[in-house]
Symmetry: C2
Subunit: 479 residues, 2 copies
């Protein structure tokens, strides 16, 4: 028997992952054509607004981080401190941090312990303590290859069989449903409320849970993405409390995907860990049984180092035997990339006020944050002028997720191509302008609604003008 699509693992065949699907592949083909001097296309660059990939676009890496990493990669440089300082302008804290990290990991070319280098886990715990105002236990922290591999680990352990249900926000980041497909476990969707800036609603979550139970599922876990992907929503403390309360009542594991925790423009970030610890303090005993896994990464935020594939998750309230299984699972893949682990350490423990690298670090960090806010605002403004497009004000993450209404003829034309209308729209946009978005159907959306997701990472305003112009022509054509 030779392998064919029909006889291989059908859970893989069924998995959907639109962020890097047909549109993304086509956009890469266009990019290659342009690179090879093709000038038959109606645009001269491809804008990958489909992926939260900051450094592919305009975002510069933080100088302090990369200076330290350069020393970790070539420790021989540490023998020439005078050249580093006087010739290259490295500050003493860069050199000290590199020496400290090397002492902890030995070589970045060596495997670390399976769950990550112990000293880096301690640094993360100290960060969590500062962030939340409650202690964190390094032995409950697991370094991962980006947050994605953390999600993969947790879902693999939590889902027992095809009857296991995991509550997933809709719209969602499709890693969740794709991984559940691979595991042949079930997504129990709960819709976010677009009319309330894509917030969570206790009633909606409860109704979705009841439906899952009524369908015979063993609902085990609720996933929250906060700030939201693709929605950009940032949850209030009230919202976080109500999710924890619900999870407590129904004995659900909470999986809090908090990779956008520093990408917040409105209000402030409330970590699930922090709010849970507060609830535990306010109500002795009541919340002791809550199981929480929260994830973070170096891929997003002002760090934006997704190519380095670094991240971690922290467990709270898990049974020790279950933790042992999680440990075994991560050990099979040996360890997360060690240079990525070091970058996690730098992210959670950046230069402090008064240290030599602080001023530049702070300038770069604030500049990126401000730049993201400006771009989000400009993009939001453009969308609000477009016919049939509505878009919530940018709150967080790296995305806008406007809703679009397309004429009946556009729906017909899409159906003729066996596409959903939003896919059709995004494909036409890509063909006309070189701008790659992800259609809302890739994340899930309420029936009868259409959306697209765009990052607001790309520089300049030309591409935004291109979308506005395309949209007008598209609407005119299919009106």
């Amino acid at each position: 028997m030779r392998l064919t699509r029909d006889n291989i693992n059908q859970h893989v065949v069924r998995a959907e992952y639109a962020v890097r699907g047909e549109l993304a592949v086509k956009s890469e083909e266009y990019r290659a054509l342009l690179k090879n001097g093709d000038n038959s296309l109606p645009f001269d660059q491809v804008i990958s607004a489909n992926i939260g990939n900051p450094q592919q676009l305009d975002q510069k890496p933080i100088t302090f981080f990369r200076q330290v990493l350069s020393l970790l990669e070539n420790p021989e440089l540490l023998k020439k401190e005078d050249v580093l300082i006087n010739g290259l302008g490295y500050k003493t804290d860069v050199i000290e941090r590199a020496k400290w990290l090397l002492k902890q990991v030995g070589s970045v070319g060596a495997y670390s312990a399976s769950a990550g280098a112990p000293a880096i886990k301690e640094s993360i715990a100290a960060f969590l303590e500062r962030r939340d105002g409650f202690p964190a236990d390094p032995s409950k922290i697991y370094l991962s290859t980006g947050a994605s591999s953390g999600v993969n680990t947790l879902l693999h352990v939590i889902c027992a069989d095809k009857n296991s249900g995991i509550m997933i926000p809709i719209p969602q980041y499709p890693l969740y449903t794709a991984t559940l497909s691979l595991l042949d476990a079930q997504a129990v969707p709960y819709y976010l409320d677009e009319s309330k800036s894509w917030g969570t609603s206790f009633e909606t979550i409860k109704a979705a849970y009841e439906k899952g139970k009524a369908d015979g599922l063993d609902v085990r876990c609720i996933v929250i993405i906060n700030p939201g992907n693709p929605t950009g929503a940032s949850l209030s403390e009230e919202d976080v409390r109500s999710v924890i309360d619900f999870a407590r009542e129904e004995n659900l594991v909470i999986m809090a995907d908090e990779v956008y925790q520093t990408n917040v423009f409105v209000g402030q970030f409330h970590s699930f860990k922090g709010v849970l610890r507060k609830l535990q303090k306010e109500n002795p005993g009541k919340y002791d049984g809550v199981e929480l896994a929260s994830l973070h990464s170096i891929s997003k935020g002002m760090v934006g180092e997704c190519g380095h594939r670094g991240g971690y998750f922290e467990l709270v309230g898990f049974n020790a035997e279950v933790e042992a299984q999680i440990y075994k699972f991560v050990s099979i893949m040996l360890c997360a990339p060690v240079i990525g682990q070091c970058l996690v350490e730098l992210m959670v423990n950046p230069p402090k006020v008064g240290e030599p690298s602080y001023e530049l670090y702070n300038k770069e960090y604030s500049g990126i944050h401000e730049g993201l806010r400006e771009r989000a605002t400009a993009l939001h403004k453009a969308f609000s002028q477009m016919e049939g497009v509505e878009c919530a004000e940018p709150q967080g993450a790296m995305y806008l997720f406007p809703t679009i209404q397309l004429p009946a003829k556009a729906h017909e034309a899409a159906a003729a191509e066996k596409r959903t209308a939003d896919e059709f729209y995004c494909m036409k946009l890509l063909e006309a302008t070189g701008v790659c978005l992800v259609p809302g159907s890739g994340f899930g959306q309420k029936e009868g609604t259409l959306h697209f997701r765009t990052t607001f990472l790309a520089p300049g305003t030309e591409w935004v003008a291109g979308i506005v112009k395309f949209h007008k022509e598209f609407m005119d054509k299919y009106r």
Copy 2:
């Protein structure tokens, strides 16, 4: 319901991964005790001979590689070429390579294309062409997070259900059986022949296949680890041909784990791809249907950069629709670490004769190779003096896998602790000497035989003397 060992994914619970199991965890505890100044232990250092982790022990990274990586991590340094050259001694080819790689990947902090940066895939294809004397197609190459994630990808796609059987050499690297446990697919074990330096035997493979079929399994694939882990065996061209012939006759996918391809001390390495292409040339048409996936990584060999988690696999003869599913699967995890991808590029395209960095590169590379051979020989010599121990001469990889015969009393003492005798032996060795080995039962061994695996990476002879002394005392105690 709260998560417990009994209600989580039982495929995870059942997976076994001894390389980082109880012994490894205990050895890390000892290491932490020693680090904290504890002097109650009968040894003053822990020797991790359980993991092929070259740079944790004595192996130094290759200077050219790390100099290039330092520039990739901090491209600002490229603005100060005079300091790099005159102050730090970087050669011009280091600078040129870094510039070229940065041009290809943009930033090492950005995601690459899902299957890896196109230019790096082209470099790998050129390397395969030089190595094998036959062309390689970059579009059939997938960068991975070490070879482990490549194995994970391939097994996920190939195994359809619990009836799928994968032929695994015994002894094996336990990644294979652990991953099959996770997938609830079946290992079809075939024993390597210890009496013939752990080579493959056509008859044994055929018998194992027939048994798998008789058990009702849909046997789909044969895994070969060459050079062998844990055995260190290096297959002859004849052996490789006979595996390909068998796979062709029975329509099995060949998965060739070739991560130790440069760790060869006796004879030479014969790649499955090269031998397959030769067979295809010699017998037009006959071998066209053979499906081969071969894997390589930066973790082993003279590179030894396992902490960077880089690797790739190449597909030959796969159906295009199956390739599309493999592509989708890797895209869900976004991409392999980009700095690791760059290190793959450096590995497959090192400095050439006449280039400024060649001399040092060659000296370092040969020095590591020679050092490994010397250590392997010394260790082999020590084992051959030990009572009840037999060990094949070192041929390749980074391991020796001696067979041991223990007295009946040792078996009884082990059973009293609910351990296998080899586990018991390795645990006592660790407690007495701080040397961590992996018992043969972690890899699989013929019933009634006992082995252990040790790397020959640790420097010095003291730890070897420690094993010899322990062994004598152990034998005296239990005789």
